[in-house]
Subunit: 225 residues, 2 copies
């Protein structure tokens, strides 16, 4: 049975990715990051999702990215926007997916896993540069140069199975695979487990995804636009 | 004055790189990682070197890589070799330079720095895959795809000024720039500040570098081969 490392945030996308990897027959190792995020309650959701989908192991790595700040998600002095804006929003965390994939790569090499999964999406997303296909391709090329396994002729593959799906398509795929979205949290400013603000970018994309998919949204939103 | 982020381990190479960046006129921001390394006393050396070379800021980021293990440097159950072996040694930390550069990239983007410096070397080194020029080039390409700054047309440059130098040449260059190597620690298994084992790969390369350079080695070695 092939091993895979799955980046698991506790949100809707990464829960779906974990279900996809499991459905493809991988032995799943879930990796979450306690990176000083404002919405660290997502780690409780990650734990529920990991247990619910039967991973072999779930590791939470401590990483003090709030020491850098520079993002609404890692610096409490920068507010999470409640209106849709232009361009890359302040919720962008500099180099986050590069950092998270690097850590997944490190664990994968230790485990003997050659497949990494993450839930980036370039359709219904916040416009982050590290969610685009060209970023994923560049990281895969790097992974095969950076590692002992790569030098020895093994190949790492970065799987981003949601990259070309709409949020509604992601939800429909997750439903088919039995994902319980009631376990997940997407909100950028959730501070109480199970309560979403309803107005941040992530809540808006989530709510709209359920609506378009024709699936009942299990989320408790504080407000709705 | 242009800003640069310099990865600073507390060893000989990164101290030299910091002196080079400063000599090139950069305003220097030093980044060290408390990654669960066996030789965490190197962080005391990093602090001394950062102060000695007058950085603007020195950040130490906490990162629990010992949760992965898989290397003699992050898992105390794997011994540091005291003889030179074949191939990539067990002191290789999976994906370490990818992880460290990713973090340096994140901080650089927050600071508005576009230049990253690190002390990798492909001549007198331990054979690590992430010390080779092709790795550095691939990371630079990734950095410019991964970031908001890159998307907006700015360019990140990864500087590896030691990559083609011998250890002796590195030491000679550091001497010219006034680096006090007595502040640095290279040993892979140093547990007491200022005391090096003298027999690990890193100690052997360091001692031989000073000998070939014709420079007095300020290191206190416990043993000598």
């Amino acid at each position: 049975m092939k091993k895979a490392v799955i980046l698991l945030s506790g949100g809707l996308d990464s829960a779906t990715v974990l279900a996809i990897a499991r459905d493809q027959g991988y032995e799943c190792y879930a990796l979450s990051l306690a990176y000083g995020q404002r919405h660290s309650v997502e780690l409780e959701a990650a734990d529920r999702v990991a247990k619910g989908l039967g991973v072999v192991a779930h590791k939470v790595i401590q990483l003090s990215l709030d020491a850098f700040g520079g993002s609404a998600l890692t610096d409490n002095a920068i507010a999470v926007p409640e209106e849709q804006g232009e361009g890359i929003p302040v919720t962008y965390v500099p180099a986050r997916n590069t950092i998270f994939l690097s850590l997944a790569l490190g664990w994968a090499e230790v485990l003997g896993a050659r497949d990494l999964f993450l839930g980036v999406n370039a359709v219904d997303y916040s416009g982050y540069p590290d969610c685009r296909p060209e970023f994923i391709e560049a990281f895969e090329a790097l992974a095969n140069l950076a590692t002992k396994a790569g030098v020895e002729g093994e190949r790492f593959t970065i799987h981003a199975p949601l990259i070309n799906l709409t949020k509604a398509e992601i939800i429909q795929q997750g439903q088919r695979l039995g994902v319980d979205y009631g376990l997940t949290i997407s909100c950028y400013q959730a501070t109480v487990d199970g309560i979403a603000c309803g107005v941040c970018d992530s809540c808006r994309l989530r709510a709209e995804g359920f609506r378009v998919a024709g699936v009942t949204d299990p989320t408790h939103y504080l407000k709705r636009k």
